[in-house]
């Protein structure tokens, strides 16, 4: 055993630090009732950050607003034009063109799917709304690709640019979606351009990343052969590097398109463009379940179409083009069939008005039937759904939020939180801690103690010094002093700016859903890793869940469970469980077969192989999954504000509706900080695990 391992076995000095922390925590918890400031961070100790930000923004708008308004006007007319064009062109033309593109991307199956989807939009009567959404995406994607292309090239060519771009991308991907809209809204003024600009900005990071990655990965010998052919720097870039990196770049295009769509849907909240996102949002607000389901399905279909088509093209990039011979038409089958479609469709629409605009009378809008079905369902299953909701709320969520001490009542937990009861609680906890000590060493004891404190006092009842010190210490132990400093400063920002109480509410909801995702998703992932059939069933579901714009998740949960924390929790879980499943499965499956064979030769049972070989070796990969779960949960948290959660997400949303820049930055910034702190801690944890396992150097 190496000396490093030996040192890891010795308790000091890490354990000592935790013992000191334990004393501090006990002290804080005892003094909590007398010293109110321990729980409620006093106003006097805050800094006027919000006012400062408002001041800056006022100054900026006072000077630059006309400039941005000009851009807004310039961008608005092509967008309105595209919208008008898409809405006015005869539906057979649109459907045929989409079908041809889909066929070119992936064949007739996808074409059929697209035709069916478009027909659904038309029959239900959401054609114009869908076309508006398409127009927004159609405008923002090229903008986004352009931004991404320029930034990616800069980052690739210049080291200094990369040094700015990479951290910016990290931040951009953690800032909650709504928060993007606030400054853009203030600068550009209310209108559809906001959504377009926001999604152009929001969707550019994948393009930047993939472009840089693709260009860097072009093999050296390909570059050298370009150089020896006498390429100038410009030729080398555009005739060798970029074409050789097409596949990676196209994957970036796919991701950019999906991100743009997601943002366009979210930006619908600003209103004013009569697009499908707005339809979902407004019907959901009015609790029109059926309507929002019908409109939500449109979003799902649009997302699936866009994803499949752009991914199809990405996968085709490596393919061999058969060179066609013959005249112009024969050589350009796609172009000529599209031209035919336009001409034929236009002629048709002149011949019969049915083909120009789908007649109102033929619209089938089964919203009422759906409503009745839903209410029948809720009526009949109310007992079940309500029981699930109540149990989860009372036994898990509320203690995490407000603490067992305040939640335990005879009506719910069956006892009053008397001194006796709390003594019993702590005794049980100590017992669990003892068990943990035997199984996993002192680190597990610390984990049990922290969770025990959290469960007893709740996220909002835990004294902030205890919380701050605990997180900083964890960061210090896993990631070293840099991560610790970052975590500490991040939390200090939340305290000083007054975001702390809301941050704790967000923490509670995130932590709760992450725990559930991790346990349930991990179990599903293990199952899928052992069973190919399960894996085959889960994969398309995961793929689909992952491409959905976040709004969509709210519809079914609100339908059954109404607004509230529980619905938010479910929506978050639906979205954030995917990486838990995926990474667990992948991590287990990719364990070195030699290690498994060796274990089998030693006489391990399959179960032992799973628990003693596969899972431990898969931990680094699972941790990456955990990291993703946290990021996804935080992303969804903002959206969940729409179903009435409290916390940072709701604060971001509130600042958007009231155009309060300072509050938006603080709330959005705090969420980004939470995401980044979690990210740093988990990443360094995964990295150190990986080192311990000898999976990396």
């Amino acid at each position: 055993m190496s000396p490093a391992h030996l040192r890891a076995r010795l308790p000091a000095p890490n354990l000592l630090v935790w013992l000191v922390f334990g004393v501090l925590a006990i002290l804080c918890l005892i003094l909590r009732d007398d010293e109110k400031w321990l729980v409620k961070y006093p106003k006097d100790w805050m800094l006027p950050i919000e006012a400062g930000l408002e001041f800056l923004m006022d100054w900026f708008t006072a000077n630059f607003k006309p400039f941005f308004r000009l851009i807004s006007d310039v961008l608005e007319w092509p967008m309105r034009g595209l919208q008008a064009l898409l809405q006015a062109s005869p539906w057979p033309v649109t459907i045929a063109i989409v079908a041809i593109i889909a066929y070119a991307a992936q064949g007739w199956r996808l074409a059929a799917f697209c035709i069916a989807s478009l027909f659904y939009m038309m029959i239900v009567g959401y054609w114009d709304e869908s076309m508006s959404t398409l127009a927004l995406v159609g405008m923002s994607v090229p903008l986004s690709l352009m931004i991404g292309f320029v930034m990616g090239l800069l980052g690739f060519q210049f080291r200094w640019a990369r040094r700015v771009i990479e951290p910016t991308l990290d931040v951009m991907q953690t800032v909650p979606t709504f928060a993007y809209l606030i400054p853009i809204l203030i600068l550009f003024g209310i209108g559809p351009v906001v959504g377009m600009v926001a999604s152009a900005v929001y969707a550019s990071p994948p393009m930047v990343r993939n472009l840089m990655l693709g260009l860097q990965r072009v093999p050296d010998n390909v570059i050298e052969s370009g150089q020896m052919s006498g390429c100038s720097a410009f030729q080398l870039l555009f005739m060798v590097r970029i074409p050789a990196a097409t596949h990676t770049i196209m994957i970036g295009v796919n991701q950019t398109i999906m991100a743009a769509l997601a943002m366009v849907i979210i930006a619908a909240i600003i209103g004013g463009f009569a697009d499908i996102g707005w339809e979902v949002l407004s019907t959901m607000r009015k609790a029109q379940t059926g309507q929002s389901l019908l409109a939500g399905l449109v979003i799902v279909l649009i997302a699936m179409m866009m994803d499949r088509i752009s991914r199809g093209f990405a996968e085709r990039t490596g393919e061999i083009h058969v060179r066609r011979s013959g005249n112009y038409i024969a050589r350009h089958p796609w172009l000529s069939s599209m031209a035919t479609a336009v001409v034929a469709g236009t002629l048709l629409s002149w011949a019969a008005p049915v083909f120009s605009a789908y007649p109102e009378a033929w619209i089938i809008y089964p919203a009422e039937d759906l409503n009745q079905a839903v209410s029948w369902f809720t009526r009949n299953f109310f007992d079940t759904t309500d029981a699930i909701k109540t149990y989860t709320l009372y036994f898990f969520m509320l203690p995490m939020k407000a603490g067992l001490e305040r939640i335990a009542r005879p009506g719910s937990w069956g006892f009053e939180m008397t001194t006796m009861a709390s003594v019993i609680y702590w005794v049980i906890l100590v017992a669990i801690g003892g068990l943990a000590a035997r199984l996993g060493g002192w680190r597990s004891v610390v984990a049990v103690a922290l969770l025990g404190i959290l469960f007893y006092y709740g996220a909002s009842g835990t004294p902030w010094p205890v919380f701050v010190v605990a997180v900083t210490l964890i960061a210090l132990q896993v990631g070293g002093w840099k991560v610790a400093l970052f975590a500490f400063l991040g939390m200090a920002f939340m305290l000083l700016s007054g975001a702390w109480p809301r941050a704790m509410l967000s923490f509670y909801l995130t932590a709760t859903s992450v725990i559930i995702c991790f346990v349930a998703g991990g179990a599903l992932g293990i199952w899928a890793a052992q069973n190919d059939r399960v894996s085959a069933v889960l994969r398309p579901i995961n793929d689909t869940l992952q491409t959905m714009p976040l709004f969509v998740f709210l519809i079914p949960v609100v339908m059954v469970f109404l607004v509230g924390d529980f619905s938010a929790l479910l929506a978050i879980i639906m979205y954030a469980i995917v990486p838990a499943i995926r990474y667990t499965e992948h991590g287990i499956r990719q364990v070195d077969p030699v290690a498994i064979e060796a274990a089998r030769m030693m006489g391990c049972t399959e179960r032992q192989i799973l628990w003693k070989v596969r899972l431990p070796l898969a931990i680094p990969e699972i941790m990456v999954g955990l990291n993703q779960v946290v990021m996804f949960a935080l992303a969804m948290l903002v959206i969940a504000a729409l179903v009435g959660t409290k916390g940072l997400g709701q604060w971001v949303y509130d600042s958007l509706t009231n155009a309060r820049f300072g509050q938006g930055v603080i709330a959005g910034g705090s969420m980004a900080l939470m995401a980044m702190i979690a990210d740093r801690i988990i990443q360094s944890w995964a990295a150190s695990k990986k080192r311990d396992l000898g999976l990396s150097t």
């Binding site: 093999p219 010998n221 390909v222 050298e224 052969s225 370009g226 150089q227 020896m228 052919s229 006498g230 390429c231 100038s232 030729q235 005739m239 060798v240 074409p243 050789a244 097409t246 490596g318 061999i320 060179r323």
Partner: protein, 355 residues
């Protein structure tokens, strides 16, 4: 045995150094690499944690010659050839092409030289994955701005030359390793370079195809008469192809000579290690052992001075006592007896054992 090609120098590599590491430049005060104590410098380079990939490399390449650089993996062969083409910047030294220091020319001039004077074939083919065979071959011409018709015609010519006619619309991925390398060769020849670099062009191929490609390479060279720098780590390949061989070890050149010189007078143990298993009869040529004492031997048996002993021995077996040796121009330059062949083989064998 450089024979008739023994003329002007095309390319000179003079005291070229390539040092990798954090502070590679500090070992040289001037750009010139002719330091007084090269061995000492090499020592201090490796002691300071730098890698001397090429150290004090000096040689000339003549017009129309096949100059082979060989050595074990990691000995610095690729580094040197990349210095010659300036794909990597040497840390010190001079590379002189047609009397001009290549390391001092401007970017634009360098691009121009690469476009018109140099061709290179890469160890791992280096084909552009997004282009078909014909587009790959035409690529250097496209870069020069040659019209589409002209460049495609020229590319087709080259494709026929390397025997790939009919595969021009395929993509690199659809070709075998040998076929891909032919594309690489065709591409490097498309611009009619005067100077042809080949970096282990056949190493990735299996032995049968390699042999076939070597024959084809020799055939092409008969046709084209390029000045060639050929890299290999396969000594037999070097023997087959080379006019002269440079043997590298740890970044340095340990010996330069004709194949026969290298086999018969290895400079040190490292070289003799290489040559140990080489059958002498395949290396020693008539020109190497012929004596000019008897310029009018009484025989009708005439052999070329490039013929190996393996090729002449049947003549003696058939009953000749002596054969005449003629030069490339056809003049008789000497004669060989069976006794001379035997002693040449015995000598070289003894020399090999002693080493």
């Amino acid at each position: 045995m450089t024979g008739a090609d023994d003329q002007e120098v095309k390319l000179t590599c003079r005291h070229v150094w390539k040092v990798y590491g954090p502070a590679a430049d500090r070992f040289f005060t001037s750009g010139k690499g002719d330091v007084a104590d090269a061995a000492g410098l090499i020592e201090s380079i490796s002691e300071s944690g730098h890698i001397g990939a090429a150290c004090d490399v000096t040689f000339d390449v003549h017009f129309g010659e096949i100059f082979v650089i060989m050595g074990l993996s990691g000995s610095g062969k690729s580094t040197i050839v990349r210095c010659l083409s300036r794909l990597v910047e040497p840390t010190a030294g001079e590379v002189i092409l047609d009397g001009e220091d290549l390391l001092r020319v401007s970017r634009d001039k360098l691009i121009d030289i690469r476009r018109h004077k140099m061709g290179m074939v890469f160890q791992n083919f280096g084909l552009l994955p997004h282009l078909s065979v014909v587009e790959n071959v035409a690529f250097p011409l496209q870069i020069q701005g040659v019209t589409k018709e002209k460049r495609l015609a020229r590319a087709m010519e080259m494709i026929d030359l390397v025997g790939l006619g009919g595969r021009e619309t395929s993509y690199p991925r659809q070709l075998s390793g040998g076929q891909q390398q032919r594309v690489g060769i065709a591409r490097s020849l498309a611009v009619e370079p005067e100077l042809w670099f080949l970096d282990e062009p056949f190493s990735a191929l299996d032995p049968l195809i390699r042999r076939q490609m070597q024959d084809e390479f020799l055939r092409l060279q008969q046709l084209l008469h390029k000045t060639i720098v050929f890299i290999t780590h396969d000594f037999l390949e070097a023997l087959r192809l080379a006019d002269r061989i440079a043997i590298m070890k740890d970044g340095r050149i340990v010996q330069i000579g004709t194949p026969a010189e290298v086999v018969m007078q290895p400079a040190d143990d490292y070289v003799s290690e290489f040559t140990q298993d080489v059958p002498r009869v395949k290396v020693i040529t008539a020109g190497d052992i012929a004596t000019s004492a008897d310029l009018h031997p009484a025989t009708d048996d005439v052999v070329d001075e490039h013929a190996t002993l393996e090729e002449i021995m049947p003549r003696f077996a058939a009953g000749s006592d002596v054969v005449a040796v003629k030069s490339g121009e056809g003049a008789i330059v000497g004669s060989i007896t069976a006794q001379m062949v035997l002693s040449a083989l015995a000598d070289s064998h003894a020399a090999g054992d002693a080493a």
